[in-house]
Symmetry: C2
Subunit: 509 residues, 2 copies
Amino acid sequence: RDGGRELMFYYGRRNGMAAHAVLRDCVLQIDEEVAKLLELKAKLGGDDGKHQFVLKTAKGTRDYNPKQMAIREKVFNTVVACFKRHGAETIDTPVFELKETLTGKYGEDSKLIYDLKDQGGELLSLRYDLTVPFARYLAMNKITNIKRYHIAKVYRRDNPSMTRGRYREFYQCDFDIAGQYDAMIPDAECLKIVHEILSELELGDFRIKVNDRRILDGMFAACGVPDDKFRTICSTVDKLDKMSWEDVKNEMVNEKGLSEQAADLIGEFVSMQGGRDLAERLLQNPRLSQNKLACSGLSDVKLLFSYLELFQVTDKVVFDLSLARGLDYYTGLIYEAVLTQAGLSGDTLNGAEDSVSVGSVAGGGRYDGLVGMFDPKGRKVPCVGVSFGIERIFTIMEQKAESSADKVRTTEVQVLVASAQKNLLEERLKLVTDLWKAGIKAEVMYKKNPKLLSQLQHCEESGIPLVAILGEQELKDGVVKLRVVATREEVDFSRADLIREIRRRTSEA
Amino acid sequence: RDGGRELMFYYGRRNGMAAHAVLRDCVLQIDEEVAKLLELKAKLGGDDGKHQFVLKTAKGTRDYNPKQMAIREKVFNTVVACFKRHGAETIDTPVFELKETLTGKYGEDSKLIYDLKDQGGELLSLRYDLTVPFARYLAMNKITNIKRYHIAKVYRRDNPSMTRGRYREFYQCDFDIAGQYDAMIPDAECLKIVHEILSELELGDFRIKVNDRRILDGMFAACGVPDDKFRTICSTVDKLDKMSWEDVKNEMVNEKGLSEQAADLIGEFVSMQGGRDLAERLLQNPRLSQNKLACSGLSDVKLLFSYLELFQVTDKVVFDLSLARGLDYYTGLIYEAVLTQAGLSGDTLNGAEDSVSVGSVAGGGRYDGLVGMFDPKGRKVPCVGVSFGIERIFTIMEQKAESSADKVRTTEVQVLVASAQKNLLEERLKLVTDLWKAGIKAEVMYKKNPKLLSQLQHCEESGIPLVAILGEQELKDGVVKLRVVATREEVDFSRADLIREIRRRTSEA
């Protein structure tokens, strides 16, 4: 029964030259055992009484219906237009990567990675984000500078919460700048892009929190956190947006064994929010100014704010010492955009504590070491980027569309070719062919003899603005009756004029 | 060791009331064994000497670089514009489905489905095509009529052949019409769409073969094929585009046990190609005219051709009795578009035998039973659709782009904001902010003091047509020097005129 221990024993007794061959044998034996057992399992499952087929999508995933797709298209158009305005190229990568490409990049969250079944061949996993595949792409193609965007789905076996727009399959819209450049210029452009996109989408007021990993590390050192506790204490700080300071301090002291004094010092720092002025003040702070890392971080934040002023985005940006970000790979500036429920004005934004964040919609930062992890010689490519959590934005846009009086159209049809009498299918097909040839978006109903009323109803339902009506009389006169659905106005046009008239009347669409 | 057989024995000895509980125990035991063995395997793998990290994408997959993405975007724009012109909505479905959703839909090819690893929870598989998820979507949402397109990646663990554009991850562009309509009207529109898209993409000459499953079945019956051999003989006929008639006949007679006489009768039919006339002739054929199924198929092909004439696409469509299509779920009309290497004119197309097909680029047909397979009450929704194998089209377009003199641009940047002297970063950032605000696609280089030459080189390399140059003098005069990269022409414009001038000069872009 215990084949595993048996194999281990077998392996343990032999060693030396043939170790590799033995290993291979063991693995093959295991594969065989596994296959046999799984086959048996499948057989047992097949016997399991009458099978109830469940008609659903996988847990944590959803279909997009045509209305949701229309909203998604609108959001993507805004996002892509901004990325293109800033001169980005785009790439695409496969939905799965070699498992080892993702290994060791996500810390504790690695358990959320979807693995593919071993069906012979390579071990594969679904991508967890777009950043690691991007770094793999750069290393593999020896690219040292590029400005690229990538819009694609990523996969996390997380606890889904559909109502809050958290799924197991979700879109990310990433914009990244790779290359050795002068400090904070590409970083500032990433924040400019966040500002532009969130403003254009009209999601309500937002703020962009910024901090720097070097400031966090310097602060931890200055507060007396031991070196080996930097990352774990950083994870605890990251919970400040969901937990009170009391609870966070409690976790630091009682779970992570930090001294109460160190925790209290951290507590003072992480309550600080401000702008360029705060960076300047902290550069004078007796504790922080002793720490080289902290000083270079603070100087860069100062520099960043000077660029942000030129970009005219400081109204929404807050230097917030409590921002920590979960991912391991950040090395410098980090940021996160949150929508604020209350409509805060720019003046009261800095330091305002009563605003409630309804969740992060974009985040990012600098990761100068990630590409080097893939390069055989460890060559580094500095990178900074931002990722939009677009699913939450869709949810908000859908709610807005629901409460709006305007109907969301799911097609762009300009005209329905209809007939008022029977036996005019051929004439309808001929006319619609002419319209398609002219690039007009047009439909006919797929019935030989549809009723005029049902044709008009179809227009009402799908928001088609015009109907081109054919009847015996129109055919005799060589005209088409053009009906405006909204006003019921009807005018006859010659075939020659019809196309121009349809274009004229739907030119805004 | 042989835990499988032991468990089976255990199960075999017990039965009756507790069978379900026993089964559950067995499955749990198996899961435990599997987990233990896999853990052991992972340990063994971890010991396997120095690990060589392989920097690659998964077998049969590829990244798209910015140039390939530019081509892909162009192809998608053409395809989507056509789908929208014909009034289609769009939907999206998750990349994975419950495994059982895909079970029993693809016949022998089911072995090519990618399964996800069982990490607890549901058993999932990557989608194999877009048709089955579409049918699942219709049944799940009780939709009885819709015209939708869906562009997304699908997954097949097939033998990849990158040079011929065959991948394990590839795009499909699907257009389908679901609903109870009059015969052949939606079917004809699908063929019209194939004709439009292949013409617009300028891939060279093509033909669209059509046939009907009912004609094939009727033909098999008329030739004396036993009922239970219809599907397997149909699979053999499907190989006629890759094998000679001799080999196909050999397989029918020697492998599948068909009589030589029946095979010869089939051989006569499957050599027939033509148009509406062929359908008319076959309706008079003494063998076929006895078969009800065949007659309804032939009448529908006749009707189809009358609609195709109105749609002006008969020049490329051939009624070809050898077309069989692999998938099980087709119930009526089937079709496949192939590019023909030789430039065949419309006149010589029908019946031409010397043309060599370079492979199918689109295919589809009617599948009236698939949605019913998902509906708890078996309610049917008639469907017809077409799927473009767009990867092969990308490959052809890429080759065309390679051999063309025109450079493919990967960004749409209209103007680079540059400076001729040092210390003008702030001025560049201010100006580019104004341009972005006006919707101009603009860039600055991320250096404090870039050389003018390197700024101009960047424009040459990325095809940026204009440079807005700032210098001390220009700042003093309140102007910007606009340089046309191609002609090196330089003109000063006031800030107020600059944006209009950039728009004017890049309005075709």
